[in-house]
């Protein structure tokens, strides 16, 4: 362009650094509080909101702005411009939408992280907007490992670590909690698998064969990624959510589109085993990304109709 419009600096409402510093401020409020106090959980839930908003703003501040067809001043503002609307007050998207967006955009921010974020900040809303004492009597061990795991992913997306936000000692403790929770999860999943194996082993050979055959037909017909059940070895399905963008390749007149998926849940209809969540799926080696490939005829997608088909190339010299 001969003339480009240059936006100004990003306002503190939307600026990732300002939002991160607010998370830092709220974490600082917990310094002298025992982790089983409701005030501790409340400050941490506030810190989580600002950390999530900082991570989204770090991708692009405009992602935080509420944008409706006739109310786009906040979007305009988040892009670095000064809104001209009278009595303008910036409006950002709800925190649940922040977590949803992060799940779609950040490869490492899984549906489990999104769910935890929504539930934890939801509790915070109950604490602040209702008579309910949402954090009272809630044992820190029930939320801290997942809280830190979510923070770890959000911080990593901004090139930061748990240490940057929580300090060295707290970060060391957080890492141990994350590892211990993973161990606990692993034990629970192994327990589920063992229980289903036991029930499966008690069935007759004929019943096992019939169930396995039905499962094989089901797994072929249903949407999902086919895997072997860790309990009964029948064919089962893993479902997931897409990560990254689809990769397209042109081959033999066809567009081959490949997309990677991160498993979110598993189901075997032969023995009835169900596992939900990437961390639990990883324990039984069902957490690997899988690919889904679709083929299109290239002409369907890209070739425009030629109104002068059969004529020589356009040539304005003749």
């Amino acid at each position: 362009m001969k003339k480009t419009v240059t936006p100004g600096p990003i306002d503190t409402n939307w600026n990732a650094e300002d939002l991160y510093n607010k998370a830092l401020l709220y974490v600082g409020q917990t310094e002298d509080l025992p982790s089983d106090k409701w005030q501790y959980a409340l400050w941490m839930s506030l810190a989580l909101e600002f950390l999530a908003r900082a991570a989204l703003s770090n991708i692009n501040p405009a992602l935080l702005a509420e944008a409706k067809t006739d109310q786009w001043s906040s979007l305009y503002h988040a892009l670095g411009f000064t809104p001209k609307e009278q009595k303008y007050s910036p409006k950002s998207i709800a925190i649940a939408d922040v977590f949803k967006r992060l799940n779609i955009i950040l490869d490492d921010f899984t549906a489990e992280h999104e769910n935890f974020g929504i539930v934890h900040t939801g509790k915070r809303n109950s604490e602040l907007h209702s008579g309910d004492m949402a954090f009272e009597g809630v044992n820190a061990s029930t939320w801290q490992p997942r809280f830190y795991a979510v923070c770890q992913v959000l911080l990593a997306s901004m090139g930061k670590s748990l240490e940057d936000l929580f300090g060295k000692e707290e970060a060391q403790g957080a890492l141990k909690m994350i590892a211990a929770a993973a161990d606990e999860g692993a034990k629970a999943v192994h327990g589920d698998v063992a229980a289903h194996q036991k029930v499966w082993a008690a069935k007759s050979g004929a019943e096992q064969k019939s169930l396995s055959e039905s499962a094989a037909v089901w797994a072929t017909r249903q949407e999902g990624h086919r895997v072997e059940c860790p309990a009964c070895e029948s064919q089962a399905l893993v479902h997931g959510e897409p990560v990254g963008s689809a990769k397209q390749q042109f081959q033999d007149g066809e567009i081959i589109e490949t997309r990677e998926y991160l498993p979110t849940h598993f189901e075997c209809i032969a023995c009835g085993l169900k596992i939900t969540g990437l961390s639990r799926l990883s324990v039984v080696k069902l957490g690997d990304r899988y690919k889904k490939t679709q083929r299109y005829d290239a002409s369907e997608l890209y070739v425009s109709e030629d109104d002068y088909e059969g004529y020589a190339d356009d040539n304005n010299e003749r």
Binding site: T12, N21, L24, L25, G28, G159, D164, L165, K168
Partner: protein
């Protein structure tokens, strides 16, 4: 010139070049060394630094607070989100008994610990554009050197860790080894990494009111 300004500043945090091209202007020399910044849109990028008596200066300036006494150690525009990376000081009229004092911020970080400084929240003492923006005393980044900001006048603690870190910084600065450089002759030039080094002006004795140092900010060095 035979020396690499950038590699010297990268290594030591600052460089002093004696009597460098005294006949040329600060604007020319600064452009030779790097990318000149105009931090205030409507002002000349080269600013004159002259001693001013307390009563003659605006009360919110260092001269208005300290007059001709020693200025405290600081980094320039520490209360801004993005302080200028380098500053060039160039002597027009100098005196040997008014040295520029410098402390290496890396030493302070080593003494206090990056963990505390990275999490120490501070805020400008006055709102900027009607707002208070929180800042940290040290900003580590993946793709650039960590930024250290310090100004015990223009920055105020914004959290408990901010209070702790500011008091630790004051204590460290008070007992730290100071590097003295004298901009005495025309053309004497000093380039300082403003994200790393803290600097201060020595007191200005009576009769030295005509001291004139020109300051130019640089975004990067060649």
């Amino acid at each position: 010139m035979g020396i690499s300004v950038k590699s010297n500043v990268d290594c030591d945090g600052c460089i002093f070049i004696e009597g460098y091209e005294p006949g040329r202007s600060s604007a020319e020399i600064a452009a030779l060394f790097g990318k000149v910044l105009s931090v205030w849109d409507d002002e000349d990028p080269v600013q004159d630094l002259v001693p001013i008596d307390k009563n003659d200066a605006a009360p919110n300036t260092y001269s208005g607070i300290f007059g001709r006494d020693r200025f405290p150690f600081h980094t320039d525009l520490a209360h801004w989100r993005d302080p200028p990376r380098y500053l060039m000081l160039r002597c027009v009229k100098g005196y040997v008994d008014i040295p520029t004092l410098v402390i290496d911020g890396h030493d302070l970080v080593s003494a206090i610990g990056p963990d505390l400084l990275n999490r120490a929240l501070v805020k400008p003492r006055r709102p900027r554009d009607g707002r208070f923006s929180m800042l940290t005393l040290r900003e580590p980044e993946d793709d650039r050197p960590a930024l250290i900001r310090w100004d015990e006048v223009y920055l105020k603690p914004a959290s408990k860790l901010g209070e702790l870190a500011m008091s630790r910084m004051k204590k460290e600065i008070a007992s730290h080894r100071v590097i003295e450089t004298t901009l005495a002759e025309p053309g004497d030039t000093m380039i300082i990494d403003n994200w790393r080094m803290l600097h201060a002006r020595a007191p200005v004795p009576a009769g030295r009111e005509d001291r004139l140092i020109e300051r130019t900010y640089l975004g990067e060095l060649n």
